[in-house]
Amino acid sequence: MELLRRGTRGLIAAALCLCPLSAWADAETGITIEAVDAYSCGALSNNIANVDNFRSRMLSIGGYNAGVRYTNGLVWPTDFTDVDVASDGGDTWNFDRPGDAIAYFSGHGTCDDQTNTVCFSTAECPDIAGTDKRCLLDHYIWWFPEGRCVYSRPRSIVVDRTGTSCQSVNYSTDAVRWGEDPGSGDWAGAALNGGVNLAVIDNSCGITPDLYVPETLNAFAGVSTIALIMPTRVGDDTADVANRGRALADRYVANPWSAVGPSWTDAINSVTGGGNCFFGGGGHGIDGCGAHIALSVEVNEARAEWANGTENWIQLRDDGNDSIGWGWMAWIYTCNYDCNTYPFILW
């Protein structure tokens, strides 16, 4: 019913607004950063530098302003959950503030979407209730591809508020709604007190290949684009590097008229460090095989494609370009290897 309500509202909004560039819009210019290195479940060292490098590069030319910055114990699980959907939610003061255009989290995630169950096709993977499944290419035996089963288990941001116990925020199914504001309308009971148009989730196993809808649709409530890192082979994952955020900001600095979604995926080309991919290449901020992926959701294909491949860094600040409903998901990704010759799903 909720999906239907949002879809209907979105269709009306789409009919009223055929052009993605609206004249009513207010500028959203803030950049909020949150990062954790001090984990009791496995300390990291480059996340805070990563978000600092991102924001300082973005602010090195005009156009954007500093939002809030929280690190380590100042990053709370409630920073990411909606104030109107969860009784203790606090995203309107933190990760999804009115007036912000971009929010960037860097830290741990969880890789419980991956299994070591051998498969040769997706149909062979055992069903797990409440999840979708895929068989992810692992290697070749002679010329026969062999895979491992992966599932659409909820994806998580991991924080450690106390420094003694890690906490997960599930953005796939919990009370996470990003981007709702006057430009997008009220989504899923989230009111109008969000703002971000680009959310960057720089964590472990941020999304499972091909399971984009069940793992991220929940978080779309007006945000144009969600940018993530997608390991494409079981056992491989995001590396803790300090230069990924700056590589993204480089695209803005180099050309503010470049498209935002492709800027995120292309940023992988300037990220250094990591481990080799089984199929060649690798590195670029990933330990093994993986990709930068940008997802956009809109009421129809044309608007989703515009948000994903055309919206530029100047248009990103415009509230009038917000997503206005569910209907179509568009994605673009750049793998750190040849994922055209070695497609990651075994059907």
């Binding site: 600092d52 910055r69 984009y212 491949g309 998901m329």
Partner: protein, 283 residues
């Protein structure tokens, strides 16, 4: 931040940053300037200066030089319509890599330091959000080929030279950061590698690594030269290190862990926090 716009003297300003620098360094610096680039900025090309960045911009894209580091990056303007995204030059990554290698070496990337190539792959797709999971295949947009840098057999981490061509033979994107590497650092790296070629020496070194960080002992490692990244505006830093990638035991991000020749941990200058936290609200 004021943007100055100039339409004359482009080559003078862009040319003021030298191309390949004659140097006694172990690794030769190459700066990929606009006059060496095939990137077409399109009609109305003009120079913009914004802080430390020089940008040659037209109606197709922009070619940017970071005047602090000498790094360059060229990117397209957003297309007016998603239908106008580039088409791939080829479905054959080897063919693409051959073309990019020839292009960048002809431009001036030192051929002797190019130890290999690899591609990254940009693809796109979409589908209805009504379906529980996507099942439509994604489509190849383009390959990007990277030249891998090594000096005397030692990989260099932090340098890059890449380019992507479309079906019209036009450059979609390119970026180069190829700083000079001092002799002393190359010598140090070669010596460390030679030392670790000895099983007994390596065993002793790994015992020291274990003492410094227990989970790094069993991680595969290699000797590398590592330098600060293309966007780092502080002092340039370059070191010879033993570099490992340590997987998380709890399923989180993998850590890049580096050690010097005495097995002491190494962090680079651009791997340090620089900001200040905001005051916390109640929630």
């Amino acid at each position: 931040m004021k943007t100055e716009i100039k339409t004359f003297g482009l080559m003078l300003l862009f040319g003021s940053l030298a191309g390949t620098s004659p140097s006694n360094a172990g690794g030769i610096q190459y700066e990929h300037l606009a006059d060496k680039s095939q990137f077409n900025v399109g009609a109305g090309g003009h120079l913009e200066v914004q802080g430390p960045y020089q940008r040659l911009r037209g109606d197709r894209g922009a070619f940017m030089v970071d005047t602090v580091t000498g790094a360059t990056l060229a990117t397209l303007n957003a297309p007016p319509s998603p239908d106008l995204l580039p088409e791939p030059l080829t479905q054959d990554p080897d063919e693409h890599s051959g073309i990019v290698r020839e292009y960048l070496i002809r431009a001036g990337v030192p051929a002797a330091e190019v130890s290999g190539t690899h591609v990254t792959t940009t693809m796109k797709g979409g589908g209805s959000t009504q379906s529980a999971a996507m099942s439509s295949p994604s489509k190849l947009l383009w390959y990007t080929t990277h030249l891998e840098r090594s000096i005397q057999g030692i990989p260099v981490e932090g340098s890059f030279a890449f380019a992507a061509f479309d079906s019209n033979g036009e450059v979609i994107t390119e970026g180069v950061y190829w700083p000079a590497i001092p002799d002393s650092v190359v010598d140090e790296a070669v010596q460390l590698k030679q030392r670790l070629d000895s099983p007994s020496e390596k065993a002793a070194f790994l015992r020291s690594v274990e003492a410094a960080r227990a989970d790094a002992k069993d991680a595969a490692g290699e000797v590398k030269i590592v330098h600060t990244s293309a966007g780092h505006h502080g002092q340039f830093e370059v070191k010879a290190v033993y570099s490992t990638v340590v997987k998380s035991r709890t399923g989180g991000k993998a850590s890049l862990v580096r050690f010097d020749s005495e097995a002491k941990g190494v962090a680079m200058a651009d791997e340090k926090a620089t900001g200040v936290d905001s005051p916390r609200k109640e929630k």
